[in-house]
Symmetry: C2
Subunit: 235 residues, 2 copies
Amino acid sequence: MKPSERIRAVAFDAYGTLFDVYSVGALAEQLFPGKGEALTALWRLKQIEYSFLRTLSGRYRPFLEITEDGLVYSAKKLGLALNDAQRRQLMNQYACLSPFPENLGALKALRALGLPMAVLSNGTPQMLDVAIKSAGMSGLFDHVLSVDAVRQYKTADAAYQLGPDAFGVPAKEILFVSSNGWDAAGATWFGYTTFWINRAQLPMEELGVTPTAVGQRLTDIVEFVQARCAPAAGR
Amino acid sequence: MKPSERIRAVAFDAYGTLFDVYSVGALAEQLFPGKGEALTALWRLKQIEYSFLRTLSGRYRPFLEITEDGLVYSAKKLGLALNDAQRRQLMNQYACLSPFPENLGALKALRALGLPMAVLSNGTPQMLDVAIKSAGMSGLFDHVLSVDAVRQYKTADAAYQLGPDAFGVPAKEILFVSSNGWDAAGATWFGYTTFWINRAQLPMEELGVTPTAVGQRLTDIVEFVQARCAPAAGR
């Protein structure tokens, strides 16, 4: 192992990576039969688009708000009469997204390697606290880092910089893990060693940058990290 | 008319506003029967997404490149085997997009009011030159402003600032015209007086900002401008 390949910490994206953003689909389908999948997909697209636009224009609003804004727009676009009760139901469901089934085991296996771990997410601290507890992941992370601290969403440098600052480790020695192709690309540009969990088997984004490694499940990173970490004592 | 409502210049977005980005659809359908519409829609989405991401991460590449990148990704995502000849054909078609039918008349009517006019676009200067000529719009604009000069895409402030700088007029006294809801929102945030040409009758973006006016066609802005401009002599 070259020193340049050493991994000393791991940072995880939350939405889409630890938590399944499409797990609201069942409720959406129940509320709007035949339209649940379309609503969930467009909701996610608009939420991300709004995070980009508000950062580009320096008009930050917390992720909970833009998530709700994305839901409201998507329902209108699809011609669905979303009432207040339905909106609250969907937002409550979003607060407690299901984790992907293999995630808890993968996180515990990584934890056993003795590496410090963090969540680095667009979500607000409160959203992340609730989601982590709800997914049974309490106590697994040394840091829960929210871009709310810098009021800029990924892929802005200020957002990614939270990782090196929290760990006191250069980005290159932190493995940044994301299921979102654009996030994996942004983190690679920033300087992280990156692992793209390509769950949906999508093509690589055409952004002229390649994540360090690609897999399909969170468990795929355990071996990758194992080969690159120096064991830490006393953890 | 309050002085604050006076319009002294007009700036137009190009792609989607002056030129119909979906006019490549016929060729796309011919090349990939049954998939033309899906390819054209996804291509546009990815092109815009890449403009956001590259600006957020400070990784500018010219619009011609990210347009081609968006095409390549979209074809892969849809499982279409896009060969080099087809890619060139679609890119050539993109260079000469059709204008919307009412546009030339609307631009000439505005020109007759004596207001200076500009294009303010993500496109490169060369892309804009070819597209303007091909659409029969040569000579109608006092300025053809490309964000290539500042290497940041809309909705970054630096991109919108090209308008006030070129006209020597504050943003508030420039009418910024766009068919893209996100662009109309960004320009309003920046400080322009804005007109959203909502051709597709989409819901308003949920970004907490409202364009000054909304219409469905470029001709709709003529009356709006007429009521707000002071006639200029010698034009």
